[in-house]
């Protein structure tokens, strides 16, 4: 854990990425058909997967130290 304060970009870059991916999934499934239906669900779930991965990484990181 860094004792230094993080800037807004560092704090929000991953949440922003997750938000954009979720929105592409939400709107993509509405505008597209067939393949896009599955892709939309996958992108929306992808945001959650990214968060889970970050959480798992943090957890293993704190255990080691």
């Amino acid at each position: 854990m860094s004792p230094r304060d993080q800037g807004l970009w560092r704090i929000f870059r991953l949440p922003l990425l997750i938000g954009v991916v979720s929105l592409i999934g939400l709107v993509g499934a509405l505008l597209g058909d067939g393949l896009w239906d599955g892709l939309g669900a996958a992108l929306l779930a992808g945001g959650l997967a990214l968060a889970t991965a970050a959480w798992a990484r943090q957890r293993s990181g704190t255990r080691k130290t």
């Binding site: 854990m1 860094s2 004792p3 230094r4 304060d5 993080q6 807004l8 704090i11 929000f12 991953l14 949440p15 997750i18 938000g19 954009v20 979720s22 929105l23 939400l26 499934a29 509405l30 505008l31 597209g32 058909d33 896009w36 239906d37 599955g38 939309g40 669900a41 996958a42 929306l44 779930a45 945001g47 959650l48 990214l50 968060a51 991965a53 970050a54 959480w55 798992a56 990484r57 943090q58 957890r59 704190t62």
Partner: protein, 362 residues
């Protein structure tokens, strides 16, 4: 951010959440089965059925309407819709003196005029839907839930603002499991809250738009249909009406290539007192959600107008799938349900954090 600013945002977050939490929890809990309404109805209402004359003989729409009204003498027809996977026409009618919102809904076998089994809207699901839509309080309940939806949006915005000072020294994804329950739940609340922002905002905002359905449609009727409504002094009586079947065929000619969705009868919320409003939708993924009516003079059977919907009705139409999550197959519905469950955890943990902090302050 200055500590005074953080305190102000914190107060906004606390109060917008506190006011709405009970209602949002209700919406999340009732919303969960509603995501799968189609699948649940299929199980609850499953019944083997085949049309009486599967060989192709079809009654025309006037005969179907007569068959339906014969079962409820004195009723006035309001809507007619068409099943896509079976030869069934659904007739909605109401007694002239019935209380607001009381309708008779009849699926009719178009090959015989006999009643067909219900395939959607099991009473249990209707109960949940009504609770979710308006708390059984009609328009007032709908608008109230819309206000709670606005509170949710305020809580999300203030929550995102507060995320920054909380996460200043923590990497993304941190949950301090070794710390007190309060800290642990604060971290979960922040993490789950920030990763679901996009979905919660879309479902919340489209939910708010859906609560405005009644005023939106009323405004459309008062403006777009005003000239048509002014053409006659009084409403068209039942025995003055020209053939419905011919009216629908005339409408089809006016909107070639589009798919028939439903008919709104004279005097209903979606038409004037003097016209059959015949609604069609397109066939691309987006335009299936967008409806265009052809208005047919109910006395003469002549085409009166084709009335493309203004932007605010289109916004309402697109808000429905984006709120229900029923536009991308079962996979999307499952993700919708997971996000709904996560939202329940966010609401619950938020409430818990508020209670703990209050106890400490004493």
């Amino acid at each position: 951010m200055r500590s005074g600013t953080v305190r102000a945002w914190s107060r906004v977050h606390t109060w917008s959440s506190l006011i709405s939490t009970v209602f949002l929890l209700m919406l999340c809990v009732t919303g969960l089965p509603l995501v799968f309404a189609h699948e649940i109805d299929e199980v609850l209402l499953h019944q083997d059925w085949s049309p009486t004359h599967a060989d192709g003989r079809r009654l025309d729409l006037d005969q179907v309407l007569d068959a339906a009204l014969a079962r409820h003498p004195g009723d006035v027809p309001t809507f007619m819709s068409f099943d896509t996977d079976r030869p069934v026409v659904n007739v909605t009618s109401r007694a002239p003196d019935a209380p607001a919102g009381a309708y008779n809904f009849q699926p009719i076998d178009q090959t015989s005029g006999e009643a067909a089994p219900l395939v959607a809207g099991h009473p249990v699901m209707e109960f949940i839907l009504q609770l979710h839509t308006d708390l059984f309080l009609g328009l007032g309940g709908m608008l109230f839930l819309g206000l709670m939806g606005l509170m949710l949006l305020v809580a999300v915005v203030s929550g995102v603002v507060l995320y920054a000072p909380f996460m200043r020294r923590l990497p993304f994804g941190t949950v301090r499991a070794e710390r007190s329950a309060r800290t642990r739940w604060l971290d979960w609340h922040n993490l789950l809250g920030i990763v679901t922002v996009a979905w919660v905002v879309v479902v919340g905002a489209t939910g708010v738009v859906n609560t405005l359905a009644v005023p939106i449609i009323a405004h459309w009727k008062d403006t777009a249909l005003a000239d048509l409504a002014a053409a006659y002094d009084g409403p068209v009586a039942l025995d003055e009406r020209a053939s419905l079947d011919a009216a629908v065929n005339r409408a089809r000619e006016a909107l070639p290539g589009m798919t028939l969705q439903f008919v709104a009868f004279p005097g209903s919320d979606y038409s004037t007192d003097n016209h059959y409003a015949v609604f069609f939708h397109g066939d691309t993924p987006v335009t299936t959600h967008l409806i265009t009516p052809a208005l047919i003079d109910a006395r003469t059977g002549e085409l009166a107008a084709v009335a493309p919907m203004p932007w605010y009705v289109k916004a309402l139409s697109l808000s429905q799938p984006l709120h229900f999550g029923d536009y991308g197959g079962l996979g999307l519905k499952i993700v919708w349900a997971v996000l709904d469950l996560i939202t329940i955890v966010i609401l619950g943990s938020g409430l818990y954090l508020w209670i703990v902090r209050r106890r400490r302050a004493r």
